[in-house]
Structures are given as C-alpha cells and as structure tokens.
Symmetry: C2
C-alpha cells in the first residue's frame, strides 16, 4: 500500500462538509447546470453520489491497491481518450424522467468539466466511445453465400465491419428509477439496501445523495453507419436490443436463440447502413435474465429433469421455482440508452420480445416493423424457449396452440 | 412490495444473536465440518458471511422486489437442480490456502446440508453444473476443412459439441485472499471498503465474518470428455484459461486475439477428448483486464491517437496512464478453480501468458507444453498487443527486438 494512503477510515454515512459544492440537478439542460458526477475515492469531500466508478471492477481496483500495484490516490490521465464522435446533446437528455439509469453527459466530462479537472477535482467518464473493426465467422459465411455484399465502407472485403461503439457504465438517479418501477424512492432505497444484505448504508442514511453508481454490468452500443443518423427519424433505423447470454453469445449453446438472433441483428444493421440507413445493436450485461449464470444452470437442470421432460408448457414455471421470478431484466430502464442516442423512431426492430417493444412504446419511441428470427436459424434445442415465449406474448405470426405447446419437448439430459 | 416484508431496517454492522450457530471452518475436510455458507437475506439471524448470493445480480433481485414481482422472502425450490456429475471432493479442498476465492462445496449444498434446508435454513448453491451442446461457426468450418472429425461422442455430425459446464459464483475467504496478495487481512478489508467508496461496512466492523460474497462476475467451466479425468494426472489434459473480452469473444473485434485464442482452446480441447484425454476451458468474467469496458475503450482511443500511432512499444503504458495499473486481473486467484477440479497437471496449456503460467506453477500445478496461437490466426490489428506482450515476457519462440517492437504499428483511427 502506498505510503501516502489516508490512515483513518473515512465514514461515508455522514455528509462531508463540502458536499454542497457539487450539487447534481438531474435532467438540467446543460452539463454545467446538471453538474459533474463525482464518485471519486481520492477526494471524498468532493463526492456527490453513492458508490464509485467502474461498477463491480472497483473491487478489482481494491485488490490492485492491496497488492501494491495501484496507488490508492491514482487518477486517470484522460489525454486522447475523448469520444471519436459527438453524441448529442439531444432534447431527451433534459426531459424529466426520460433518462434515469445512465449519465447522458458521461462521455463529455473532459470537455464540460475540464476546468474543474484541471483544478484537481477527480471527475471520470462513465461513457467511452471508440471505433472498431469486427470480423465474425457467421458474417463471412453470409458473404461467401452472396447474401451480404462488401461495399468498402460498412463491410469490407475480407469480412471486416466498421463500427462506432460505446461502453456505458450505469448511473442510477434513484427518484427516477423508483418512478419507473412504480414505487417510492424511500421503498426503493430500503429494498436495494436490504436485498443486497446491506450494501451501501448511504442508500438509507443519505437521502441527500440521489445518484447511485451500482456495481452491476453496463451497456455496449454498436453503431453501423453514421451515429448522427440515429436521431434523424427520416433515416431508416434497424435495431436489435440484446441481453447478454454468455453460453450462447460466446459458446454457441443450442438451448436458446441468443447468438443467432444477435447475428441477425448485426447482419440487418449492416444492410441498413449499406442502403442509406443506420444500424444499432445494444448489448446489455444482464446474464441469465439478470439472475446470473448459477441460477440459469440450476434452471436448466430442473427443466431437463422434470416429469415429462423439458416442455414449452412449463418453461417459465421452472425459472420461477428456482429464482422466485420469471425474469429480472426489467426492460423499463432499457430505453434510456435509446434516448441518449436521440432515437425517436425504430423502423425495423430485430426482436420478438413484447417486453422490449412495450418498454420502448411506453417511452414514446415509435416502432415500425418487428422482425422475427427465421425458423431455420432456431437451434434444435431452442424450440422449447421459442414456443413458450410465443405463447406468453412474444410477437410472432404463428402463436402455438396449447396442444402444440405441450408437444414441444427439448432434448433429454441423457442425450446431451 | 409483499405485505409480509419486515418493516424495520435490519442493521448488518452488529452481530446477530444466533450468528454462532453456523460457524465456518474454512478448508475443513468435510462439508459438515466446514459448515454452510449462508448469505440469505430472508433470515438474517442465520447469516455467516458479508454480502449475498448472485454477485451483482442481487441488485436486480432488489429491483424485482421493488417492482412487486418477487417476494422479499422468496427461497429457491432446488428440486432437480443438483449437479449432472460429481466433482470431488479432492484433497486440494482441505489443503490450507489452496482454495480461497470459491466454495468447493458450493455445488453439493442440497446433499450436504439437506437437513438444515429442510428445517428452513436458507442455504443456496454457489455452483451449478449442467450439460450442454455447443455449435460454433468456426468449428463447423474446421469440420468442413477436414481439420476436425466428428466422432459421435464429443463432436457430432452437424458440428454439435457435447460438454459438461459449471457456473461458479465468487466466495472470498478474506484471510486467504490477503495471504495470496501479500497483505494483512486488516489492510485488505480496509482497502476493499475504501476503494469501493464504502461498500459493506462489515468489511471493517465485523472481523468475526471472514467470508465475503463480492458483487463481481464469476467463472464458467467447460469440460470436454469425462470430468473425473481432470483429476487423473495420467490422462492428457488440454486447458485454456480465458479472461472475458466481450468485444472480441462476442463481436469479433480485430484489435486482440481473444476469440481466436478461445476457439483454439475449444478446438484443442475437443481433439484431446477425442484422443482419450480431456479438455477444459475456464472462462473468467474479468472484462478489460478486470478494469471494465469503459476504461478499455478510453485506452483504445489513447492508443490510436498518441504521437507515432498505436505502437507495441507503448502498449502497456497507455493502459497505465488511464487506469493507473497495466492489468487488474490478478492471476493469483485463478488456480482456485483448477484445485476445485482436482487438477495437478496440465499437459497442454493453450496460453502464452506468463502471468497465468506462473500463477499455476506457484500453486503446485505441473505444466507440460505451452501452445502459442498460430501466426495466421492473429487478426490484423492485434499484432500490436501480441508483440507488446511477447516483449513483456509472454511465452513465445520469437520475442521481438526493440526495433521490431517500435516498427509494430496498428491501424490508425481514421481508417477504422
């Protein structure tokens, strides 16, 4: 541990004397009026939020400090890290209640609060925007089959795809989160505290701090074509909002449609950008319906072993038995990132999810066509999930009957 | 919120009267002597750890309770969720200091503590083991090219791969973690508390609680072939230990070798299992060197924009400027999962990382051959990372000279 580490434990449950210097006025029209989000641990007196930067990764920073490889007083050198493209400001940024789970000014802190940073205030970006080239085996196969054509701008010969991408850490404005979930801020704070077994007592002791940097996963946004076009209703926008599924997205597990539907989202986004439109894939870190992978694998076992086998008819019931809830992804917060990008209309939504669709419509975003996954892209063992979801309200031209539902049985455990 | 929710806020910073009923004796030889890990929020009196189950996902459970869709008193119905295969017990489970970051009994709680669970104690698995079929475009291409042959057991016609997989949530035994990082338990607890801006005051107020369920990502293990063979030194074991990189693992970004090396690990694991051996891929949720994706994208921008372009010679420097540390993955804890699986020898390690290698050797695991990624699988823009790592000690037959290092320049930002 560095020798200049503070030697007394700082209590966080009582206001620091200077906390008033950096008030946050959520949804104010400019960055200056809104004020900077300060989650620094190097100058606690400046803090105006609960929690700290980097979500879960703050625990790894703590290990780095423990191991003596990171100074506890370290601050980022932000030279050359600024966004590769402008995003906003858009009117949605200051419409009350539109954005409650991320900081719309999170990518421009160097520009908006440069003077304060120069003065020594530890203000950090919660959003980073860069460019990348992607190369995916499935897209290469589509090029080879003649189904995708390189154009030299979006899709290159050899299969490279040019994208602009943004990583977004969660920044929760607690009054807005409570409203979105139909509860009071007081109840929300108390439940967050109790259900995490006491993480951040400030949730209940510091009602003056309304912003929380929760240690949960963030969002990655992939933009195909011109980022500014996302906010232009006249430019056709193809969009997939995808929730993380490591087992399929990375390892190609055939029990769900996650990676095939993600590929379809990327493919259609490329086509849209090639045809004068724009494409967007939003990737939310919400593994296993935001219940985590341990719960997910427990549910797989319960599904495969139940009497009658892995049935579409009992698909949601098994998750509810193990987790107490069918799904914890809560699409209510998902449209925030669309508001951040200035989106008011999605011309083609690559999703069958009624929850995603309704969350977008509730937030005032117009949706044109909804595009199902083609039957020939549904992996063998994923029909159980697909039929169960259709029966539960997923958008589909052909919702199954109860008899069909009962007949849809997945692969038994002993032939995995 | 359910009507039977407790109406007073429970303080967690003072011992509950019955806490002594479930003492934890870490590394005890049997599950009964070790005692159950109880992170329940439904009966706080039984708790014997700091934090709660599900890592980060406890915050989503809290949102589910806030939204009224999950009872705050819910407990899992574990019927049919038990592991699909035995793992252990192995001697490593009770050797002091061998396993400090997961609960080796985490998958057998239903069996080991069934009586207590029946009595109403809320004991939950921290590990789940299931089976799966994988299907990946890259493997299908290798089959088509004749480089992989289906055998009907490990690799099926049509490209399906049979695996056993386990999801593992972190369970940190703080005295052991401190020892692994060369610090005192007192300093570790204090640093975890301070660097997270005050997450879990019990870290500093409750020295009697030595186990912490941190809200960080876990581990997924993919086993190719017979799981019991992992612990048999005579059965050839091919292994890749892979740290998460969403940009490459899922989206195929060409700035690093992550997905190509992961595919190689899977491919070689399949070959090993087909040849009478066994294969293992360990996937650690440590995005962006455990610094997170926002930091990663900031570093990409700083690399591409620095004077002289994206150079291998300054590769590590750029991360250190932004994050204060080159890498926060800390392979010191990584071998725990290998001990859990009973592994004492890895015949073929599909990795060039000196940090992973040294961590394994330090933990008494014998390593045979180390297998580099073939040059023709390194994506175009990833040579910067690869040459920088070789120069820094990565295993390679051909470490670059300083002049070669200076000549390795990546794609400039304006031609992304």
């Amino acid at each position: 541990m560095s020798s200049n580490a503070p030697r007394h434990i700082r209590l966080t449950s009582h206001p620091e004397p200077q906390a008033h210097r950096w008030p946050l006025r959520w949804a104010a029209p400019t960055a200056a009026e809104r004020g900077p989000v300060i989650g620094s641990v190097t100058r606690p007196a400046d803090r105006n939020v609960i929690g700290t930067h980097g979500g879960s990764y703050s625990l790894y920073r703590a290990l780095a400090v423990s191991a003596g490889t990171l100074s506890p007083l370290q601050r980022p050198d932000l030279a050359n890290t600024q966004p590769v493209t402008d995003i906003g400001p858009y009117p949605q940024w200051s419409e009350p209640g539109k954005i409650v789970s991320l900081d719309p000014w999170g990518h421009v802190v160097g520009e908006a609060f440069g003077d304060a940073i120069g003065e020594g205030i530890d203000i950090r970006p919660t959003i980073a925007i860069t460019k990348a080239r992607l190369n995916m085996a499935e897209l290469n196969a589509l090029i080879e089959a003649g189904s995708l054509q390189p154009d030299g701008r979006v899709l290159h010969r050899g299969g490279d795809v040019s994208v602009t991408k943004a990583a977004i850490d969660p920044v929760w404005w607690l009054p807005g989160i409570a409203e979105r979930f139909g509860t009071s801020e007081h109840e929300l704070r108390r439940t967050l505290f109790e259900q995490t077994a006491g993480m951040y007592p400030e949730l209940v002791t510091r009602p003056d701090l309304a912003v929380f940097l929760p240690p949960v996963g963030g969002i990655t946004v992939y933009i195909f074509g011109e980022p500014h076009d996302l906010a232009n209703r006249k430019v056709p926008l193809t969009c997939r909002v995808h929730d993380e599924c490591n087992g399929s997205d990375v390892f190609g597990s055939d029990i769900c449609t996650c990676r095939p539907y993600l590929i379809q989202g990327i493919e259609e986004s490329i086509r849209s950008a090639q045809d004068g439109g724009v494409g967007l894939v939003v990737y939310n870190r919400k593994e296993g319906r935001a219940l985590g992978e341990v719960t997910k694998f427990l549910v797989y076992n319960a599904r495969k072993r139940q009497e009658g086998g892995d049935q579409a008819a009992t698909y949601f019931e098994r998750t509810e038995c193990v987790a107490g809830v069918q799904d914890a992804r809560f699409q209510q917060l998902m449209p925030d990132v669309l508001h951040w990008l200035g989106i008011t209309k999605i011309h083609r939504l690559i999703s069958m999810s009624n929850m995603k669709y309704e969350a977008m419509v509730d937030q005032g975003i117009d949706i044109g066509e909804r595009v199902p996954i083609p039957a020939d892209r549904i992996p063998l063992d994923a029909s159980v999930e697909m039929e169960a979801k259709k029966a539960a309200g997923y958008f589909a031209p052909d919702a199954p009957t109860e008899a069909e539902l009962a007949r849809t049985i997945g692969r038994p455990m002993d032939s995995m």
